[in-house]
Amino acid sequence: MIVIETKLSGVLVIEPKVFGDDRGFFLETFQKQRYADCDIDLEFVQDNHSHSKKGILRGMHFQKTKPQGKLVRCVRGEVFDVVVDINSTSDTFGQWEGFHLTAENKKQVWVPPGYAHGFQVLSAYADFEYKCTDYYDPADEGCLLWNDPAVGIEWPIPNHPVLSEKDQDGLSFGELVVSDKL
């Protein structure tokens, strides 16, 4: 497995080792010891699977007091996966990085606690799976506005993504900072 660091501290892109033959392929998508060796050593307590159509954007999500670390991957289709640093003590506070995750490239992204996360579907359909290091808690949920100019995420489909009402009403980065809602 290849592990690539990104400009955001602790955020990793993981290219698992894939064994392929004429029957298909095989890979380990998580292995406690090996992932711990790359500093992914928090305990995972929940696995999620979402299915979405092209243009759908889910994000940018975070939990305020119980931040979740997420190990994410795309198992069908293609998504543009985005991570925003919302840790006010970090050097890269407010910066974002985006990754193309596809069922073919089988890349994973490790999003440590303290980042906002979201993705946009680029293929007709996409299935997205991720492991979380804390439980989902709707009361603790925060949402950063997907297109806040202060963050400036360059989405591949910038116009009229399909958003939930909750995601449409995400707060801007400036508001999150000044209102202590991070």
Binding site: L145, D148, P149, G152, E165, D169, S172, E175, S179
Partner: protein, 300 residues
């Protein structure tokens, strides 16, 4: 004391409400609008009226301006028109007055000095490039202030909205009025604006006068830059209004029919202003919800 030109306009009204209290520790405000017999275009009268009321430690907050952007477009490039005269020559008179009296000048400007082509937020060091007449005259006014005033602060503001909807409806109260009347509204989804709570602007103007922050430009604006459509949705959510009344429209499409140039993206970086507020203990409205929650909309 502080002499306030254009004190009976949108911003001045709130400034006076907040700071014209006799028991206040803040310096007294003198309203210097046309109605009060102060005409910034009548230089001699302005000087003599101002000298009657101003004391040696006075300051000037200069709000008076030609602010009708569509009206300004009809005077495009006309240096004899009221827009140019008020914004440029009027400002020159106010600058000269401030200099003669040794008064610090807090000059009001606008986000419309920028072209709206930048996708990231504009900072104070970004190069202005106005695309329509109002913005052009306001930029020249900034230059008049910077090049001539002895002691000045420039406050650029954007889309002010008020605690209580006034005579002239601002964008927030327009949205609220329509939602509460059950009227359909059309808001651009592809334009970025930075709405700002008028109380924050008024407080900043007072602090900038008191502190006489010399030679500084500040973006005195709210913490969120978003589209009018997003603003409408958030107001509807906050007021429990019916979101389905809001239809998203496109500025890009609108411009094709109406030739007046319009700035598309005016996201504003307010780091400098917020840092100043933190260091001087000015409490700002923290997010749109808080400010909007503080605004009382009184349905007509």
């Amino acid at each position: 004391m502080i002499l306030v030109t254009g004190a009976r306009g949108l911003i001045g009204t709130r400034l006076s409400e907040l700071y014209t209290k006799t028991d206040s520790a803040e310096p007294a405000l003198v309203c210097a609008d046309l109605l009060d017999g102060f005409d910034i275009l009548d230089r001699e009268a302005l000087f003599s009226r101002a000298k009657e009321v101003m004391t040696p430690d006075s300051m000037i907050i200069h709000l008076a301006a030609f602010t009708d952007v569509s009206g300004a477009h009809n005077q495009d490039s006309d240096e004899g028109g009221l827009c140019y005269r008020l914004n440029v020559e009027g400002t020159r008179n106010v600058v000269d007055l401030a200099n003669e009296l040794g008064a610090h000048l807090v000059h009001f400007s606008t986000d419309f000095v920028f072209d709206g082509e930048k996708s990231a937020p504009y900072t104070e060091v970004d190069e202005p490039n106005p695309i329509e007449w109002y913005g052009k005259t306001k930029l020249i006014a900034e230059e008049v202030v910077r090049d001539n005033a002895g002691s000045w602060t420039i406050m650029r503001i954007a889309y002010p909205y008020h605690r209580v909807s006034g005579v002239r409806l601002d964008l927030v109260s327009t949205i609220r009025q329509k939602l509460s009347n059950g009227e359909r509204l059309y808001l651009f989804g592809d334009q970025i604006i930075t709405p700002t709570f008028a109380d924050d602007i008024a407080q900043a103007a007072i602090k900038f006068s008191e502190r006489r922050l010399k030679g500084e430009i500040f973006h005195v604006m709210g913490p969120a830059s978003l589209s009018p459509h997003q603003l409408g949705a958030r107001i509807a959510k906050l007021d429990g209004g019916d979101r389905s009344l809001i239809t998203e429209t496109s500025l890009e499409e609108y411009i094709k029919k109406d030739p007046r140039p319009r700035q598309k993206r005016l996201a504003m970086d307010t780091t400098k202003f917020r840092t100043f507020c933190q260091s001087t203990g000015i409490p700002l409205q923290r997010d749109l919800e808080e400010a909007l929650g503080d605004c009382r909309f009184i349905p007509k």
